[in-house]
Structures are given as structure tokens and as C-alpha cells.
Symmetry: C2
Subunit: 224 residues, 2 copies
């Protein structure tokens, strides 16, 4: 039932030819100095692509190895197990995404309120990416044992970093209840991500943005 064994496109990706992409450009597949990426990075990049599109359980290590143009022994020497590879993928992809997302919020000169208003336009860019397949953390929890805490903890860490940034901005923006406002925005973010994954319509970000504006006007004095 639709597992992924070989790379679906018969042709393998040429990692060095693939330029950094939208929106949080998966450039880490290239060495920082533009040199040929090491096996470890190629494996993570390949696994990220495949896990995000097809789901973690549905993708075998053989498919990852083929897509990364490496050898199985290298994968196991580097990561030890598929499970640890999954953790490495989530850690790296999560950090890359947060760097991009938070960077987009904070870049340039702007008031805290203006930065918070950027959340959903920035998410909309992400939703428009061809390689947008939903949030890898939400998806990972969705497809693993919900009574096992491991994956949930990993996802919670990711959410916490994002929420802490929002709490910070909400506080700077003079919100009475910065924590509450940030968590309400967090719910809208999760909802928009899931809706965008299912509908493939990036405009859900505009709708979520309207709700967010309303929250800001009601809960944040400085957002007249």
C-alpha cells in the first residue's frame, strides 16, 4: 500500500546542482563553503524531502540511500538507526525553519505589532512553496504512537521556541496577557498549517491573518 522503496522519480537528485530553494532554502545540503556536501548532509537532505512528502513510516532507508546517492552502511555508520536519523532530520529541519521564520519576522525596522502582523503573510510564502507538505513535527506526531511521548516531546520543543518568540513580541507590543495572546496566535498558526496542507490553498493564511489582526486589536493596546 504505497510504501516508498526507490526514489519515485527514477533519476536521482544531483545535490550539488540543486540551488538553495524557497522559502527557508534547504541550503544545508551544500557545504557552507559551497563544496560538495558530505554524506551526512546529503542523507539528511534526502530524508527530509522524502519524509515530508511521503511520511516517515512509508519511507524506507533504501529510498533515502538511493535519493542521497550514498550507501546504506554510511547511513547506519552516521546515524545508527532510522529512528536516530528521523530525530536528526527533525532537529535540523526544525532549526532551519525556525531560523527562516523568526528571521522573517524580525528583519528590518518595525514595531513589535508590525512584526506580529507579519506572521501570516510569512506563513503564506511557505504555503506557496512547491515543497510545502505541512509541518514535519505535526505530521510526525500524527503518524506515530500517540501514547509514546518521544515524538510529542520533540514537537513540543519546536513549538516552544516559536511560542517564546511570539510571547516576547507580544510583551514588547504591550499586550495585557502576552502569554495568552501568543498561544492564541499559535493555535491559528497550527490551524492554518493543517488547513493549507489539506486544501493546498495558501489563502487560508489570509483568513488566519484576519483572525490574528482581530486578536491584536482586542488584546493589544498598541494595535489600535
Amino acid at each position: 500500500m504505497a510504501r516508498v522503496t526507490k526514489t519515485s522519480s527514477g533519476t536521482l537528485v544531483e545535490p550539488t546542482v540543486c540551488p538553495p530553494r524557497n522559502p527557508h532554502g534547504r541550503a544545508f545540503a551544500e557545504g557552507a563553503d559551497g563544496a560538495e556536501p558530505k554524506a551526512r548532509d546529503r542523507i539528511i537532505a534526502a530524508a527530509t524531502r522524502l519524509f515530508c512528502q511521503y511520511g516517515i513510516t512509508a519511507v524506507g532507508v533504501d529510498a533515502v540511500v538511493a535519493e542521497a546517492a550514498t550507501a546504506k552502511a554510511t547511513l547506519y555508520k552516521t546515524f545508527g538507526s532510522k529512528e536516530r536519523l528521523v530525530e536528526a532530520v527533525l532537529e535540523k529541519e526544525g532549526a532551519a525553519w525556525r531560523d527562516w521564520f523568526i528571521g522573517e519576522l524580525l528583519k528590518g525596522e518595525a514595531t513589535p505589532v508590525a512584526r506580529l502582523r507579519r506572521v501570516f503573510p510569512v506563513l503564506r510564502e511557505w504555503f506557496n512553496d512547491d515543497a510545502f507538505f505541512g509541518c514535519p513535527f505535526i505530521n510526525a506526531v500524527a503518524e506515530t504512537d500517540k501514547r509514546d511521548d518521544r515524538m510529542r516531546q520533540i514537537a513540543l520543543h519546536h513549538k516552544k521556541v516559536v511560542l517564546d518568540t511570539l510571547i516576547d513580541l507580544a510583551g514588547q507590543a504591550g499586550a495585557r496577557d502576552a502569554h495568552g495572546l501568543a498561544h492564541q496566535l499559535g493555535l491559528l498558526i497550527d490551524g492554518a498549517i493543517v488547513a493549507a496542507m489539506i486544501t493546498k490553498d495558501s489563502n487560508v493564511a489570509l483568513l488566519a491573518g484576519q483572525s490574528a489582526d482581530m486578536l491584536l486589536r482586542n488584546l493589544c493596546a498598541e494595535a489600535a
Copy 2:
């Protein structure tokens, strides 16, 4: 990596002993007249439990057969393939959930606004269920090929039925933009479901309810 082969608890469930449960009681495992449930219903009930907790891809048909206390031939005679079993499970579980959820919103005497205000308290009940593992449709999309439309279409149908109910209520409540209000509530619902799955904290429903109240007050004249 943590697939589900046999039922994890060595003991098999005794379907006839299991009373209907919270909150949208999975009573369909019993014949409508209380008789011994037929194999088809036992299989659907078992598959629903296992798919929801462990994920669809991670659960093999052998585990479903063991949990349903039936034979593999019966499963394949009845459903033809695992894929069609998955569709049957989602169809039945989706219908049961919607009947429960919409029934809770509409039951008793209440104004349309009051019914809309029930959305998140009702969801909170669901989140508090031991067998709450997130939305099966969201989870199913999350763990399958995002470039394949089949699962997305199934999930979209489920969302549409719920949204149509909300649009109806929003219209009755005199909302200027019933469609927009309903979709904003839909985003909050999805966000709350995902957040509840990840945090295991049903109080996210209260937070989402606050946002919903704000939306109603701002977009719905009759919600003073």
C-alpha cells in the same frame, strides 16, 4: 522501527463485552440490536482503534485481524484491500464523529450564537477522551503522499460537512459574512485539535474558545 504487528496488549479485546464509550461512543461495533457484532463491524472497530493510535502505515492487516478476532480471509473478502479498509474506516468514523459533534451543537433549545459557542466546550470533551488521538483525517493526510489527492479529497469532504453546518449556524446568527466566520472557526478547530494532540492538554479548547468568542462578538451582530 515500531510497526504494529500483533495487538500490543497480548490479550485481545472482547468486542461484545466492550460497552459504548466516550464521547461519540464507538457503539457501531455492536449490532444495532445489541446482538453479537458481525465480522465487518469488528474489523472496522479494531482498525479504527489501531489506525488512530499508531498511524495507518504502521499498522499491518495482521494486527487488525488479531484485534478484531477474525480471519485475514474475512478481511480481504469484505474490503478487498487494506486501502479500501482505510477508506471504510474513515467514512464510518467520520460519520460517527460528525453525528456526535453536530448533534452536541444542535441538541436542546438554544440560539444559533449559543450553539456556535458550544463548539469548543464540546471539542474539549473529545480531547479529554482517553481514546483521543487527534483528527483521523488530518493524521491520514499527514502520513500519506501529499502529492496524491485521494486522501486529501476524503479529508476535504469531512471538513466540508462540518463547515457547512457552521456556515448555516453563522448565517442564522446574522453574521455579515457567514462563510468567512465559519472558516475562521474552522481554522481554530483544526489548530485546537492539533495542539491537543501534541500537548495532551484539553485546555487548549478553552483558549480557542476565547478566540472564537472574540470572532463572534466582532463578526456577528447578535453576539453582543
